[in-house]
C-alpha cells in the first residue's frame, strides 16, 4: 500500500467509524450511563476499529518547557534509571532512553524558532517492524507500535530503520522498574502512547496531561478513525503535516503550525 490509496482508505475508515458509532449507541440500554473512561473494557483488547494518534500544535509548544518530557519519564519509569558509575555527561545523555524529546527548528532566513515534541510517530507502515528479524517490533490492532521485549534480541536494526530516531536501547542492567514499565538490559524501547493507561480506559497520555496542566495544550491524543473524536475534528479544521510525509509511512502523530 502507498499513500496514493489514502483517500479510499479514509473513506473506508469513516464508514467503519460511523457503523461502530451506531452499533455502540444501539447497544447501550436506556437509563444506563456509560462514561467514556469505561467504554473500553479490559477484556476486549486492542481493536482495529480504533487508530490512536496525536495532533501536536507546535505554535503552542513553549521554548524551554519540558513538561511533556518530564511527565513521560515519570509515567514510564525512565526517571528511576541510575547513571552508571563513572559515566560522563555526554555518554549518559546520549544513551539514556528518551521516548519523547523536544526538537528545535530555526529558520535560517528569518531566525524564527519552532519547537516540537518528537516521539515514535506510530507509522501505519512502520519500517521498524519491517526490519525486525524476530517479530518483536510490532503494530497493535489499534495502531500502537511497540516492542515485545520478551522476544527482542537487541540487534537494533529498528533503531537504524526509524527515520525519527524514536527508539532507545538499554545498555546496562536496570535495578528498579515500575510494575507497568518493565525494562532491562539488551532491549529496545520507544513511546507506546501510554498503552497501559489506554488499556485501562484512559483517554489521554501523560504528556498531554502535563502539557494541559501547564496551560499550553499543545498535544491532543485521540482516535483517528472516529470522526466524532476531538482529534479528528481538529485535523479536519486545521491544516496539519506529517513529518517526512515523503516517506509515505502515514504517521499517527501529526503536527500543525509547522
Amino acid at each position: 500500500m502507498t499513500g496514493k490509496n489514502e483517500p479510499n482508505d479514509m473513506k473506508r475508515r469513516e464508514f467503519i467509524g460511523r457503523t461502530v458509532l451506531a452499533a455502540g449507541a444501539a447497544s447501550v440500554a436506556p437509563g444506563i450511563l456509560l462514561t467514556v473512561a469505561n467504554a473500553k473494557s479490559e477484556g476486549e483488547g486492542a481493536s482495529s476499529d480504533i487508530r490512536w494518534g496525536m495532533l501536536i500544535d507546535s505554535n503552542k509548544c513553549v521554548d524551554n518547557c519540558t513538561a511533556c518530557v518530564d511527565a513521560c519519564e515519570r509515567e514510564n519509569g525512565i526517571n528511576l534509571l541510575q547513571r552508571p558509575e563513572g559515566q560522563g555527561d555526554e555518554m549518559w545523555n546520549a544513551q539514556r532512553p528518551q521516548w519523547i524529546r523536544k526538537v528545535k527548528l530555526r529558520d535560517r532566513q528569518t531566525d524564527e524558532v519552532t519547537n516540537l515534541p518528537m516521539m515514535c510517530q506510530h507509522c501505519e507502515f512502520p519500517p521498524c517492524v519491517d526490519v525486525c528479524p524476530t517479530g518483536a517490533s510490532f503494530k497493535r490492532a489499534d495502531g500502537i507500535v511497540m516492542v515485545d521485549r520478551h522476544i527482542c534480541i537487541g540487534c537494533r536494526y529498528c533503531m537504524m530503520a526509524c527515520p525519527y530516531k524514536a527508539r532507545s536501547f538499554i545498555h546496562k542492567n536496570v535495578e528498579k522498574q515500575t510494575v507497568r514499565s518493565p525494562r532491562g538490559k539488551g532491549c529496545v524501547e520507544s513511546c507506546n502512547l501510554c498503552v497501559h493507561r489506554i488499556d485501562a480506559g484512559a483517554t489521554t497520555t501523560a504528556c498531554q496531561d502535563a502539557c494541559e496542566k501547564d496551560g499550553h495544550k499543545a498535544i491532543l491524543f485521540g482516535d483517528l478513525k472516529d470522526p466524532e473524536s476531538q482529534l479528528s475534528k481538529a485535523l479536519k479544521e486545521k491544516s496539519s503535516r506529517q513529518i517526512r510525509a515523503d516517506l509515505e509511512l502515514n504517521t499517527g502523530v501529526r503536527y500543525t503550525s509547522l
Binding site: 515519570r74 510490532f138 490492532a141 489499534d142 520478551h150 510494575v179 518493565p182 493507561r197 488499556d199 485501562a200
Partner: protein, 174 residues
C-alpha cells in the same frame, strides 16, 4: 516376623519423609511467605499443584495476550504473582521477591532454575504513584465497589478461586 519388619520399614520411610518435608520449605504444604498477602488466602488462581507445575506456561500464554492483543484482564500475570507473594518488610515496603528465601527465589534456587524475569520486571508491587492516581480513579469508579464487598473489616479473607482471580485482576493495576 516378616510383616512386622515391613511395617517398621514403612513407618521409618514415612518418618524420614515427613522430616524431609518439614525441613524444606519447598516440599512442605506451602512455600508462601508469612508476611505476604497470599498468606491470608485460600488458594492461588488455580490449585497449588497445578500452578507449581504449569505457572511458566500460563504466564507465557497470557503475556502474549497482554502485550500483543492488549487484553489486560488475564488470569495469570507476573505482576499478580508479585502483588500477592511479596513479603512486607515492615517499613511500608516489600522484600524483593527474588531475594534469598523469598517466594520466587525459594523454589527456583532449590530446583536450580534461572529466575530471569526480574532483570526486567519489578521485584515489588508498585507503591502509590502520583501519575497513577488518576488512573486508579478511573478504575475505582467502575469496579472498586465490588471488591469492597468481598472482604469485611477484621475478617480473615476467605475467597473462592473465582473471587481470587477477580482480586488479582483488580489489585494488579492498583
Amino acid at each position: 516376623m516378616h510383616s512386622s519388619t515391613g511395617i517398621l520399614r514403612t513407618l521409618g520411610l514415612i518418618l524420614a519423609g515427613s522430616i524431609a518435608l518439614l525441613s524444606s520449605p519447598v516440599h512442605s504444604g506451602t512455600a508462601v511467605t508469612p508476611g505476604s498477602r497470599a498468606a491470608g488466602m485460600e488458594s492461588c488462581v488455580a490449585p497449588t499443584a497445578e500452578i507449581r507445575r504449569n505457572h511458566m506456561d500460563y504466564l507465557k500464554h497470557d503475556r502474549n495476550r497482554v502485550v500483543h492483543e492488549g487484553v489486560r484482564d488475564v488470569k495469570h500475570s507476573l505482576a499478580g504473582c508479585v502483588e500477592c507473594h511479596a513479603e512486607k518488610d515492615g517499613n511500608g515496603g516489600y522484600h524483593p521477591i527474588n531475594a534469598d528465601g523469598q517466594f520466587c527465589s525459594g523454589c527456583h534456587e532449590h530446583l536450580a532454575v534461572n529466575l530471569t524475569c526480574f532483570q526486567c520486571h519489578s521485584k515489588e508491587p508498585d507503591r502509590k504513584h502520583s501519575d497513577a492516581a488518576s488512573l486508579s480513579g478511573i478504575r475505582n469508579a467502575g469496579q472498586r465497589g465490588r471488591l469492597g464487598l468481598l472482604i469485611k473489616l477484621n475478617e480473615a479473607p476467605a475467597l473462592s478461586s473465582e473471587e481470587m482471580a477477580q482480586l488479582h485482576a483488580l489489585s494488579r493495576e492498583e
